[in-house]
């Protein structure tokens, strides 16, 4: 059974980068797929990968990660872009969503501009 856990941005907004990553990884290690509202900062994404590598074990093989952004993002003019950046500074980047799944459950997240496919691994022993 695949479990999806939605995490609203408000749940991580006040946390430090380290605590955000720990919170998300704790959910993933319980074999749930996180559906996070918005995005992590680029530096947090690398820190997430780094922490994932540090935590790899016999049972935890890593993560599959994917950020999905609204299509209109790149089509804004500079005034709208400046507004968007200011809002992000103030309340965080809540655009789009981020999927983080355990590699033992999620085989691959295929992303194309128009669609995202979540390929799930077959459970062992199931035919």
């Amino acid at each position: 059974m695949l479990t999806l856990q939605f995490v609203a941005y408000d749940e991580i907004a006040e946390l430090s980068s380290k605590r955000r990553i720990n919170k998300l990884l704790t959910i993933v290690k319980k074999n749930s797929v996180v559906l996070l509202q918005g995005q992590l900062k680029p530096t947090e994404e690398t820190a997430l990968i780094q922490k994932t590598m540090e935590d790899i074990s016999r049972t935890f093989k890593g993560i599959e990660l994917c950020t999905v952004l609204p299509e209109s993002k790149n089509k804004q003019n500079w005034v709208e872009n400046a507004k968007t950046m200011l809002v992000r500074k103030l309340i965080g980047n809540r655009d789009g969503f981020t999927i983080i799944g355990p590699a033992t459950v999620v085989k691959e997240i295929k992303k194309n501009p128009q669609k995202v496919e979540l390929l799930i691994k077959k459970a062992r022993g199931r035919k």
């Binding site: 900062k41 680029p42 530096t43 994404e45 780094q50 540090e54 990660l65 590699a103």
Partner: protein, 211 residues
């Protein structure tokens, strides 16, 4: 706050060192994109035929430690740069030793390789802060929208580190340059075959411009 200060100082020093024209150029990208093949190509072209930076293999995570080659000089069209080349392990979000057993590796060796590979990814990420310019090497036969590519490039943008994207393996039928150009329209992209040496002159010219 500490992250912001780090980025500020990195930007400041990056600008100072860029002016000296002796910089650290890192090769980053996912596993098996051809980073070491490109590093070997650069060394062979500018240091001599026999010099290699590392071994190349079809097995992922062949490069598991940072490799540095110092004082490489490239001259093209009257312009010259001198740099230290840093070949990094491929960045991945998952590493499973069972993946290596598919390449006829025994369980013990596969586990050892997986452990070294995780350390390699951590090292590669730590070294990001030290780079003045980064060449992101992508496999042009694969989907460029993978999150690892987006994360690496997003990080470099956040750190204000100049980026040159190399779409490697253009000699293969499945190669799709247009897809890479569509995925990263704001960056310079050069298609090469590091293994066969296709289009490397254009790569060197673009590298000088980027640095």
């Amino acid at each position: 706050m500490i992250d912001k200060l780090k980025i500020f100082f990195n930007k400041f020093f990056a600008k100072v060192f860029r002016k000296k024209k002796h910089v650290k150029i890192g090769l980053y990208g996912p596993p098996n994109a051809g980073k070491t093949s490109l590093a070997n190509r650069i060394c062979q072209d500018w240091l001599g035929e026999e010099i290699n930076m590392g071994t190349v293999s079809e097995i992922p995570h062949e490069t598991r430690e940072i490799q540095v080659k110092e004082k490489i000089n490239i001259k093209k069209k009257g312009k010259e740069i001198s740099f230290n080349l840093i070949d990094t392990p491929g960045i991945a979000t998952k590493i499973d030793y069972e993946e290596f057993t598919a390449f006829k590796m025994n369980k013990k060796k596969a586990k050892e390789r997986a452990k070294e590979a995780t350390k390699g990814v951590i090292e590669a990420i730590k070294w990001l802060d030290n780079m003045d310019t980064v060449v992101v090497v992508l496999d042009s036969t694969k989907n460029p929208y993978s999150q690892v590519n987006i994360t690496i490039i997003g990080n470099l943008a956040a750190r204000d580190i100049p980026v040159l994207i190399v779409a490697n393996k253009v000699d293969l039928k499945k190669s799709n340059m247009k897809k890479i150009e569509a995925a990263f329209p704001q960056y310079p992209i050069v298609g090469v075959s590091a293994l066969k040496g296709n289009n490397v002159d254009e790569f060197y010219e673009e590298l000088i411009k980027t640095v």
